[in-house]
């Protein structure tokens, strides 16, 4: 069964460094999402992406964040200058249609030291 894959599973970085989290959505899916979960808190929506554009973003998704689909298979989340509070589990998801089921990856745990 097709899966959303995320790499790496765990990323450790120093405060102020740039990180790129990578996701390979399911191949025929057109809508892509990033969510995050800070330890002990709810899973929160960050951004949705369709047709090479951000279609929706949350208040969390400020200028430090960006998303990109650099080729036909990858979907990336970049954090330009990481802060301690960016430490969280980041989930990528994709869906075939806007109203479709969102399929999630296993997540990347980002630790900012």
């Amino acid at each position: 069964e097709p899966e959303v894959t995320q790499t790496p599973s765990h990323q450790v970085t120093q405060m102020g460094q740039e990180v790129i989290l990578r996701c390979v959505p399911i191949s025929n899916h057109l809508y892509f999402y990033w969510y995050r979960q800070i330890l002990g808190q709810k899973v929160e929506f960050l951004v949705s992406f369709y047709n090479n554009e951000i279609s929706e973003k949350s208040e969390i998704f400020d200028d430090q964040f960006s998303v990109e689909r650099p080729d036909g298979s990858n979907f990336t989340l970049k954090i330009r200058s990481t802060k301690l509070e960016d430490s969280a589990m980041y989930f990528c998801a994709s869906s075939e249609a806007r109203e479709g089921i969102q399929y999630f990856g296993a997540g990347t745990r980002l630790s900012v030291l």
């Binding site: 899966e3 959303v4 809508y31 999402y33 969510y35 808190q41 709810k42 899973v43 929160e44 929506f45 949705s48 279609s55 929706e56 949350s58 989930f91 806007r98 109203e99 089921i101 969102q102 399929y103 999630f104 990856g105 296993a106 997540g107």
Partner: protein, 119 residues
């Protein structure tokens, strides 16, 4: 803004028994979708069941069923004949239909309920 509340941080059940996980939500919309996702340890979240608010009939998927009470804004998940493989974190989630005034693609999640299945 919509909110989702799961009041049970942890639940446990004996193998082969039935367990019900609670979820309540707050919204002013009349049309929306509700979901239960399951996340086994270190694995991705997978969809267990989905309910459209306009459908009065409760959704069912094999051993999983929901009790959808629209007026009470309640959406509980019942797992029958629990199996060891059901042990996971369960998340309740809400989504507005994109065509509605408050339309959105985002899922709004509860905090999750950790389910343990005892042999």
């Amino acid at each position: 803004a919509q909110t989702v509340t799961q009041s049970q941080p942890e639940m446990s059940v004996q193998e082969a028994e039935t367990v019900t996980l609670s979820c309540t939500y707050d919204t002013s919309e009349s049309d929306y979708y509700l979901f239960w996702y399951k996340q086994p340890p270190s694995r991705q979240m997978i969809l267990v069941i989905r309910q459209e608010a306009y459908k009065q009939q409760n959704a069912t998927e094999n051993r999983f069923s929901v009790n959808f009470q629209k007026a009470a804004k309640s959406f509980s998940l019942k797992i029958s004949d629990s199996q060891l493989g059901d042990a996971a974190m369960y998340f309740c989630a809400y989504r507005s239909p994109w065509f509605s005034q408050g339309g959105s693609e985002k899922l709004v999640f509860g905090k999750g309920t950790k389910l343990t299945v005892n042999p």
